[in-house]
Symmetry: C2
C-alpha cells in the first residue's frame, strides 16, 4: 500500500469552489492507485464563522478566562466541521470516505493545551480504513492525550499533523496544499520576478520559515526530516508540481538544482535595533542586559556582543518594554526603529567564499546601509532600515540570479 498524505489549508476548504479543487486533487491521487489520508484545517479566515480566530472571538468578551483545556475543546470544532463537510462532499461524489478526529486518528500528544507536542502516532484506525479502500479525512491541528483530553498543536499545527501522519504511515509523500504555487525565491509582492523553486532541502525551508517566509511550519518540516518523508508544497488551485522538500543530499543534482549558492530570500519587518554602550559599567553588565530581557519574556535576535557594547534587535511590540528595562539598569540605549531583517538562505553557501562580499556589493551599489549582520552555515542576515527593505531584497534577488533558479 503506497500512502499519500494531502493537507489542505483553511482557504482550500472554505467554500464550494475551493473544495471542488480539493476534490480534483483527491480524485487524481486515488486514480494513481495510492491510498489517501487527507488532513484539513478549519474553514476560512477570521470573520468566517468556523475559522479558528472567529471561534476565539466568541469568548473574547470574557478576557483570557477560558482555561487552556477548554479553549482547545472550542478550537477543535473548526477542523471537525471542515473534515465533516469534506467527507460529505467525497461521499456525494461516490468516493468512500471517513472522518477521524486527531485523537481517533491516533495522534497522541502531551497535555500542553494550546501548543501540545506530538508524543506518538498510533495509526491503527487509519490503516484499517485505508485497507477498506476509504479516503481517511483527519482533522488537523489536534490530537488527544493518553487520558482522552482533546489538545491542539498551536499555530501551523495542521502542517505538523500532516507530516507526523506521513512519518508514522511511511507515506511516499506529504503534499501541503496552499494558495501559492510552491516555495518562492522571495516574496512576490516585493520581488516581482520571484519564482517557485522546484526543489529545496529540509534545512533550507526551515531557515526560510524561521526567518519570516510564510511557507510551512518549521516543526512540521523537522518531523518530516527526521523520518525522511518528502514534502511537496503546492497550490490547491493549479496542477503544478510545486516545490519538493527533501534531504539536502537528494537536492543536489536534481533538476532544478543549478549548483546554486543561494536558494531564496526571506524577511521580517517591524524590528527595533537596540545598541547599548556598556563600557565603564560593572563587568557583568552585558549579562544583566540579557537576563533582564529573558526574565521579561522578550525575544532577542541578531545579538552582537562586543567588548564595549551590545547590539541586538527586538520585535517592535516589545521595544518600549525593552527600553524601559535598559533604563532601569542605568543604560540609555540607542534605538533604531522600523528596521527589517533580510535573510539570504542557501544550503550551498556553506564554505563558498565571497557570498558576504556579493551581499555588501549589491547593497552598496544601491546605497543601502547595512545596520548589522550575522551569519551561519546556511544563512546570512542583514539588518537594514525598513525603507530599504524592498530595494535590498530586489538587489539580492538579482545579484544571486534567483529569477533563474527554477527549471
Amino acid at each position: 500500500m503506497i500512502i499519500t498524505v494531502q493537507k489542505f489549508g483553511g482557504t482550500s476548504v472554505s467554500d464550494e469552489h475551493s473544495r471542488r479543487h480539493v476534490l480534483r486533487h483527491i480524485v487524481r491521487e486515488q486514480q494513481s492507485g495510492h491510498s489517501l489520508v487527507v488532513v484539513v484545517s478549519a474553514m476560512g479566515r477570521r470573520g468566517e464563522p468556523y475559522a479558528t480566530d472567529t471561534l476565539l472571538d466568541l469568548i473574547k468578551d470574557n478576557g483570557s478566562s477560558l482555561p487552556a483545556r477548554e479553549k482547545d475543546l472550542l478550537l477543535s470544532c473548526g477542523e471537525l466541521i471542515s473534515a465533516s463537510v469534506l467527507t460529505s462532499l467525497l461521499n456525494a461524489e461516490g468516493i468512500p470516505a471517513v472522518a477521524l478526529t486527531g485523537g481517533q486518528a491516533g495522534i497522541i500528544t502531551d497535555a500542553g493545551f494550546g501548543a501540545a507536542r506530538i508524543l506518538d502516532v498510533q495509526p491503527k484506525a487509519i490503516l484499517k480504513h485505508l485497507s477498506e479502500g476509504k479516503v481517511v479525512v483527519v482533522t488537523g491541528f489536534q490530537g488527544r492525550t493518553e487520558d482522552g483530553e482533546i489538545t491542539t498543536l498551536g499555530r501551523g499545527g495542521s502542517d505538523t499533523s500532516a507530516t507526523a501522519l506521513g512519518a508514522a504511515l511511511n507515506a511516499s509523500v506529504v503534499d501541503i496544499f496552499t494558495d501559492v504555487d510552491g516555495i518562492l525565491t522571495a516574496d512576490p509582492r516585493i520581488v516581482s520576478d520571484a519564482r517557485p523553486l522546484s526543489v529545496v532541502s529540509y534545512e533550507e525551508i526551515c531557515n526560510m520559515a524561521y526567518n519570516g517566509a510564510k511557507v510551512i511550519h518549521p516543526r512540521a518540516v523537522e518531523i518530516a526530516m527526521k523520518a525522511g518523508v518528502p514534502v511537496r508544497v503546492r497550490s490547491t488551485f493549479s496542477d503544478g508540481e510545486g516545490t519538493l522538500v527533501t534531504r539536502s543530499e537528494a537536492v543536489r543534482g536534481r533538476p532544478g538544482w543549478t549548483d546554486r549558492t543561494v536558494t531564496g530570500l526571506a524577511h521580517v519587518q517591524g524590528v527595533t535595533q537596540l545598541s547599548v554602550v556598556t563600557e565603564g559599567g560593572p563587568h557583568d553588565l552585558q549579562l544583566r542586559v540579557f537576563r533582564a530581557m529573558a526574565a521579561n519574556g522578550i525575544s532577542v535576535d541578531l545579538i552582537n556582543v562586543m567588548p564595549n557594547a551590545v547590539h541586538y534587535t527586538v520585535k517592535e511590540n516589545d521595544a518600549s518594554k525593552a527600553i524601559a528595562l535598559l533604563r532601569d539598569l542605568g543604560f540609555e540605549p540607542r534605538v533604531r526603529e522600523s528596521c527589517a531583517k533580510v535573510s539570504v538562505i542557501g544550503g550551498g553557501m556553506n564554505g563558498e567564499p565571497g557570498v558576504m562580499a556579493k551581499i555588501v556589493e549589491a547593497l552598496t551599489n544601491r546605497q543601502i546601509r547595512i545596520l548589522q549582520s550575522a551569519d551561519s552555515n546556511t544563512t546570512i542576515w542583514v539588518l537594514v532600515s525598513g525603507e530599504d527593505m524592498a530595494g535590498a531584497l530586489q538587489a539580492l534577488h538579482s545579484e544571486f540570479g534567483l529569477h533563474l533558479a527554477a527549471v
Copy 2:
C-alpha cells in the same frame, strides 16, 4: 455532596444577555451549597452559525451523503462550542468551571449514530471535578461508544443527557431551563388563560410530550422516572419555581394538586384520517392494511378496528403514500384531511366516571363534531377538524377548570 443538574437549552445560551440569566441561576444554586453539573445545548436556532440546524445546512448541498457517523462528529461541535463559551463566562466571573464532552463526562452509548441510546453513565470524571469545587459543564446531546466514537442522542437529546446524569449522580433535582415558565395546562397561543402547573407526574408529562406538547423529551422523563429523580421545568428568564415533575404518589396531596381529574391539554395538527370499508373483502384484509403501512414506514395513530371497517390517522406528509398503498390493496379510502388530535391528559381520570361525558358535552355545546376518539387510563383523545381545534381546546380547558389548576 448534594448534586443539582441544570440543563440550559439553545435559546438560553445563544447570546450574552441570555447567558447572564444562566449565570444567575448557576450562582444561586452554588450559593445554596449544592454541587453543580450544567448541561448545555447548541447555541441558538437555525440561521445562527453554531445551531444544530445550521451545522446541518453546511452539508445540505451534498444531499444525504454524509455518513451518520460523520454527521455526529459535525453536530457535536454545536454543544462543544456552547460549553466552551459558558465555561469561559463562568471563569471570567471567578467561578471555577470545567467543560467536558459527553464522552469525557462518561456518557456511554450504543453506536446508533444520530439517535444513540445511552447504555451507561460512568461519572468518575464529573465526581472528581465536583469534589474540587468546580462547576462541571457537560455538552448535551452527545456521548461516545466504548470504542471512542462520538455519537449524538437525537432530537431532545440534551434533556436526556441531563436526566441520565441526574440519575447516575443521584441528583437531588434536574432543572430543565427553557423559555417558558414551566409546563402549561395548554398551549398559551391558543388558550389564553393557560397556566403553569406547579406539579405533575412523570406519566402525565410523558403523555403530554407524546401528544404534542413541546415540554421535555419523553425519553428524558423515562430515565428520570426509572431513577426516581425529580425534574423541574422552569424558565431561564425568571426566578419562578416552574413545574415539578415527580412520582404520581408524590403528586397527590402536594400544593398545586387540587384533586384534579384533568391535568392539561395537548394537541397535534396536520393529521389525515383514513377510513376503509373492509366488508366483503378477504378475511385478513385489515391485517394487510396495517402490514402495508408498517412495511412502508408509515406511523399510524388513533386506530379503530371495527367488524366492517378500519379508521386510523397518519401524518399529513405520509397521507398520499398511505392512500396509494390502500389503492394497491384494492381499497378506496375515505380521506379527511387537516384534522387535529386533541388530548385530554390527567393521572386522576383513571376510574373517574363521566370524563368522556364532559368532553362530549363541552364540544357539542360548541357545535364541534368529534370525528373519532380513543382513551387510555390517563388520556382521552378526540379527533376534530383542524378548524375546530382552537375552539375544542378552549372549551375543554374551561370545562375542566384548568385555568384554576395552578396555585
